[in-house]
Amino acid sequence: MSGVVASTERAGIAKSAVLRRLPLLLVGAAFLGVLLAMPHTGPLFAWAFPGTIPPVYDRGSFVALAASHLAIVGIAVGAATFCGGAAAIVVTRSWGASAAPPVQLITSVGQSFPPAAVLAVLVPMVGFGAVPTVLALFAYGLLPITENMEAGLRAVPAPVKEAAAAMGFSAWRTLLLVELPLAWPQAFSGILTAIVVSLGTATIGSTVGALTLGTPIIDGLVTNKPGFVLQGALPLAMLAVLKELAFARPRR
């Protein structure tokens, strides 16, 4: 009897979770649909902007552009999470406190230059393509990720850490089983910030040859094809909406 109640209750919870996610799923599907349909919109754009040849951006598939866009963001934020997380762990150890000033310096320098300026500086050093973009996003994401992770670790109550040690946990075990799980919500909010900023900022990487959803826009601006600009702008706008739906968390 109680099992039945519990299972219908669980089904209810699952159903409401799906309902809450419904807008995200719909916009996600629409986003994919637009990416896939774009190559077939030639007649539409030929009618709207007569004389443009070809009418639709065709130097790469839109799916590939989106995948590259997401990969650039993923690699940059992943690397920033790894490095920023490690730095936050080090500066919150008793033996690593002296590393705090340099870490703070590096992360805040990383964020004090606008990514466009960082790109301009990096290109002569590392060449065109995705690399300077990944580096610029990495530098930009380091600060929110490190800061939030560090704040999360510092917020673990002293008696909790003392209890872990007193129960016979090694420093490692305390970090993995107690400190990181407790710091995670705050650390995650830093990672989200980096993702959200990077998804938008990656677009400008197209000015230095990175393949992103911004590529058709830059191409259209350079060669004076307003159709290309629209073709890049539509999926980007949808990505922005997706971002909102995926990461906007209910406020309590």
Partner: protein, 301 residues
Amino acid sequence: MIELRHLVKTYGDVAVVRDVSLSAPEAAVTVLLGPPGSGKSTILRMINRLIPADSGSVWIDDEDTAAIHPEALRRRIGYVIQGVGLFPHWNVARNIATVPALLGWPRKRIAARVEQLLDMVNLPPDRFAEKRPSELSGGQAQRVGIARALAADPSLLLMDEPFSALDPVTRRDLQQAFRRIQRDTGKTVVFVTHDLEEALLLGDQVALLRDGKLIQHGPPLQLLEHPADDFVADYFGGAAAGLRRLTLLSAASRAVPGEAGGARLPAQASLHDALEAMLSRGTESVALEGGGVVTLKALLA
């Protein structure tokens, strides 16, 4: 047995523990008593090597703890920390299971042990096992902290003001339950408190500290009757010392043959209980279970 030899701890240029030597006998409760900041918690933390001593040593059963791996040492010693320190992301059962899980007990044995401990600290398992620490009152959390320290059935127990967040009634209940369990299991306990009543009730031996120095130690009655100096005398209640002394003396020890009216007091009642009964009944003698009476005259002797 836990033996402290010439322990010293200094923070900056402040000596917070100054040459403390003390032994906590097997199967007894040794109370560290003293005002806030007198170094009680610091001494406790040096026993299980949570902090290193500047000098001096701690011996457990004739083994220098400096030679034991700190994590192995701590798994052997139950520790109730001041401020409880439950793991907020684990439920009550998981919190209690911390050390057994660390020691690799089988799941079934852990589950059975957790249930047994929850019963022991008066938290019905079906209501409390799944709760998060944030859903507990201060007193309930403290009881979970005690259960967690007892989980792997350590023969040594360090308790840092374990009953401080409790209301007087629960506090008295748990103190008595603790005393009973300790007598039954024969654990060696070092118990920190700044509450004199608690020290007198629970301690087989009381060590009074001030500013990191051990001022006097011995059975509670000895400190009460023969204070080494004014500080000890003051701490042990000054004018109220006489009444406190009655709580430590058993009524049976002053009983004489005879009969008296009214309900009999339990055989293990203290003289304080006897006096209380006389006052409330307006009599000058009370009978004890198991025979004999205590008279006002014998009580005053």
